[in-house]
């Protein structure tokens, strides 16, 4: 099973009754797996509006005695951290609360490569890092034990390569514990004396540290007369093992830590006393490296430390076996016939494979329209974007100018929309999708209204969380049983923008004129653009395609003199045939949306039969 499946399985074996999450790669499959068994196991599983809400609802369950899991991606923990740094003091009650955060080194599917372990340090809560698939299950179960025993939330940290790889896992029984609510603790707040609660938390952590000294999740493989000790955590343990094996004759010891906050200080110090040199291998930041370096001042004689802080391991990007091999080579003073990457010799053969919007995706229609409007305005248009499929706008002729956190598009727009008095003379368009709108756009939009910012807010509403696999959200058209739809239109109208209109993102012509007239109005303008996710459409209705097949009129086509349809619009279904020098519609890719008809300036793309 995958690391994420193993985490979900561990939660089931620990007897959870409640799970809340917001989808985000590489964490999504944890809650997805629990959704699959929710009915059978009698578990409440939900996609919350955002990660902070997810953490709040799971804390409530845990307080009432129901074991709860809260999973999210790295950036999600930033959203939830405000609550976490209060919850740590109040405690998580009798049920048990485990927060799983999946970091994404190298940002395969993220806009940064943050190390979320520092939240465990900031919140002073226990942190566990699984180092393989078996561990992922077992450590999640252990996290619940710790959380219940000490009534603290426990953070489990995975990374992309563990979450999204698969290995063999020996499973245990799913807990048949009955889950009945109990009365809440008194005083689930930390005022007026948060420092007392802080002291109590620190005392809990001391007891956790004591217990961690004996934890089986910390493994040492020591070699006699070891020249070098490798300390690793997480999936880096497998990379370290593999690299150490390549130097069999070199007497290298290996300590892998599963309990990384608080650290098993005595055990580590004991091992450091016996070591002359230490190499740290961990994903993202030098978290263990800093902690263990600072711990070493208590030693009679400290070993020499190597890792990210000395440049032996790169401080950015992802770990792999090669990184460890290279560091060991350097430390052991060995020459290895390095297999250099041979890319340089064959660069011209390695054509790039850029990401594109799917065939028929209405986000392409939107950016095409934006591009047209921007040209008409002499380039004086700034687009502040957001997180979702439509983030690919940054690759679409750089139609998107900024892209940061969930909800930042409207916040940045709200700022840009107040700069006219300083000479800022571009029109501002902020963009967000529907799931992102609910997640984090409301405060920014209300701010823009309240401050009379001059901007157009375009909501690309395809009524699903498309990027991560069509999870239901409050605005989804199709809701599961017992869920009540919340309509974006009603929310926006309540905020009372100066101008509001609903547009159709499948119709490029009307969208261009709507955008062009709207951006020239004064004040706060909101456009709700009805959009379509073609992948979701096909998922709902297998084999579904639209009703507007297109053909190319070769008499009207200006061929290589124009090429706008294939070269600029960029739909995967409308391609250039370099043999005939005509554009061609690929029938097996085309979803028959008809959007491209509006793109040809010579009317050579026609509706077919």
């Amino acid at each position: 099973m995958s690391g994420n499946e193993a985490i979900a399985r561990g939660a089931l074996e620990a007897g959870i009754g409640f799970c809340a999450s917001y989808p985000g790669t590489p964490s999504t499959e944890i809650a997805m797996n629990l959704f699959e068994v929710a009915v059978d196991q009698g578990i409440h599983v939900e996609w919350s509006t955002n990660e902070k809400v997810a953490m709040e609802v799971t804390a409530a369950a845990s307080w009432a005695g129901v074991p709860a899991l809260c999973s999210m991606k790295s950036l999600g923990l930033n959203v939830a951290s405000d609550f976490l740094l209060n919850l740590n003091l109040s405690g998580s009650g009798k049920g048990g609360l485990v927060i799983v955060v999946c970091d994404d080194p190298k940002g395969h599917s993220s806009s940064n490569e943050q190390d979320s372990r520092f939240y465990a340090k900031a919140a002073k809560i226990p942190l566990l890092e699984p180092s393989n698939h078996q561990d992922a299950k077992d450590i999640t179960k252990e996290a619940f034990r710790i959380s219940r025993k000490y009534e603290v939330p426990v953070l489990v940290r995975s990374t992309t390569r563990l979450s999204h790889s698969r290995g063999l896992v020996q499973v245990g029984n799913v807990s048949s514990r009955t889950r009945k609510t109990i009365g809440l603790h008194e005083k689930l707040y930390n005022i007026p004396s948060p420092h007392i609660r802080h002291r109590e938390l620190l005392e809990k952590m001391e007891r956790v540290a004591e217990e961690y000294e004996e934890s089986g999740f910390n493994q040492v493989k020591s070699t006699e007369r070891a020249k070098l000790l490798v300390i690793s955590s997480g999936i880096s343990s497998l990379y370290s093992q593999e690299a150490i094996q390549a130097f069999e004759s070199e007497n290298i010891s290996h300590m892998n830590l599963g309990t990384t906050n608080p650290l098993p200080r005595k055990r580590i110090k004991q091992l450091l006393e016996e070591s002359e040199r230490v190499l740290f291998v961990e994903e993202n930041d030098p978290f263990l490296e800093e902690a263990i370096r600072s711990l070493s001042v208590e030693l009679k004689k400290a070993p020499e430390f190597f890792g990210k802080m000395t440049g032996h391991i790169p401080s950015y990007g992802e770990m792999n076996t090669d990184v460890v091999l290279d560091a060991l080579l350097k430390l052991l003073g060995k020459d290895r016939k390095r297999i250099e990457e041979q890319a340089r010799n064959f660069e011209d053969l390695l054509i790039e494979r850029p990401l594109t919007f799917c065939a028929g995706c209405t986000h392409r229609n939107f950016y095409w329209s934006i591009r047209t409007v921007k040209k008409r305005l002499g380039g004086k248009l700034i687009v502040s974007g957001d997180i979702g499929c439509y983030s690919l706008g940054v690759f679409y002729d750089e139609a998107m100018d900024t892209m940061h956190a969930m909800g930042s598009g409207i916040g940045i727009g709200s700022g840009l929309g107040k700069l006219q008095r300083f000479g800022f003379d571009s029109k501002v368009v902020s963009v967000a999708g529907d799931s992102t709108f609910f997640h984090a756009c409301m405060p920014g939009l209300i701010n823009a209204r309240h401050k009379n910012a001059d901007l157009t807010f375009a909501i690309l509403d395809n009524a699903t969380t498309a990027m991560t696999g069509y999870q239901v959200h409050p605005g989804s058209k199709i809701q599961d049983e017992n869920l009540q739809r919340v309509q974006i239109e009603k929310l926006v109208r309540a905020i009372d923008p100066d101008f509001f209109a609903i547009g159709d993102a499948t119709d490029i012509k009307s969208m261009i004129s709507l955008l062009y007239s709207t951006v020239q109005k004064n004040g706060l303008k909101v456009l709700l653009l009805n959009s379509v996710c073609r992948l979701e459409e096909v998922k709902r209705k297998p084999g579904f395609i639209g009703a507007i097949p297109v053909i190319i009129d070769q008499g009207l086509c200006r061929r290589e003199k124009c090429m706008i349809c294939a070269a600029d619009f960029g739909c995967p279904a409308l391609v250039w045939d370099s043999n005939t020098n005509y554009p061609v519609v690929l029938a097996h890719v085309c979803v028959q949306c008809g959007a491209c008809i509006a793109v040809c300036p010579h009317n050579a793309i026609l509706e077919g039969e």
């Binding site: 063999l168 593999e242 076996t321 053969l349 054509i351 850029p354 990401l355």
Partner: protein, 203 residues
């Protein structure tokens, strides 16, 4: 009891499947790992599929051994590259292939959007072959297009490629387990036919 089909095969045995979204990379990984388990060995499968639905490359790393190995193959250490797409095969080979690598590559290109838009030219297959040959121990370029036409769908390309892989001499997995894994996971006659065709493709 773990069983290595060929005794001189060293652990870990590493397979890379290189392709693009929609080609069935992940299914390849599942089939090979299923066969590995049937044989009593331990598979670790690492997938890179972040943006696969949106036209990106997809690479699957498979490590086979008696214990768990890292989910990423080290530089130059792939034993096998199964290339579902020529340029993607070369892209992974440049990093992961070495003098022991055998590459089995489908010659059917899936042109990226910059090629279909007419902005970039897809490289010559002969040049890709030459490049691969300069890096790998052995390269099989398979003319898969007519076979897929005959079979009726490019969707069975992955089963065909696994069939080709199963016909190699020095590889640890028994062909019968791979065949069984295809039956168990895909339950498709067409895939089984593709697998059988694949076993003849290296001759």
């Amino acid at each position: 009891m773990p069983f290595w089909r060929v005794s001189e095969v060293r652990e870990p045995y590493s397979i890379l499947v290189a392709g693009v979204g929609g080609q069935g990379n992940l299914v390849c990984g599942r089939i090979i790992s299923e066969a590995t388990m049937k044989q009593g060995l331990r598979p670790i499968v690492g997938d890179t599929f972040g943006a696969s639905r949106r036209g990106g490359s997809v690479v699957t790393h498979i490590r086979i051994g008696t214990r768990d190995w890292g989910p990423l193959i080290p530089r130059g250490k792939a034993n096998i590259i199964l290339g579902l797409e020529p340029v993607e095969a070369l892209r992974t080979a440049l990093r992961f292939a070495g003098k022991d690598t055998i590459a089995i590559v489908s010659m059917m290109p899936v042109p990226p959007s910059n090629v279909t838009s007419g902005n970039v030219r897809y490289p010559d297959l002969a040049d890709i072959k030459k490049a691969l040959e300069s890096i790998c121990q052995q390269v099989y370029m398979l003319d898969t297009e007519p076979v897929m036409k005959k079979l009726g769908s490019t969707r069975v390309l992955n089963s065909y490629m696994i069939g080709a892989f199963s016909a190699l001499d020095d590889m640890p997995l028994d062909s019968k387990y791979l065949r069984q894994a295809i039956l168990d996971l895909l339950e498709s006659e067409m895939d089984l036919t593709a697998f059988n065709e694949g076993t003849q493709s290296l001759l």
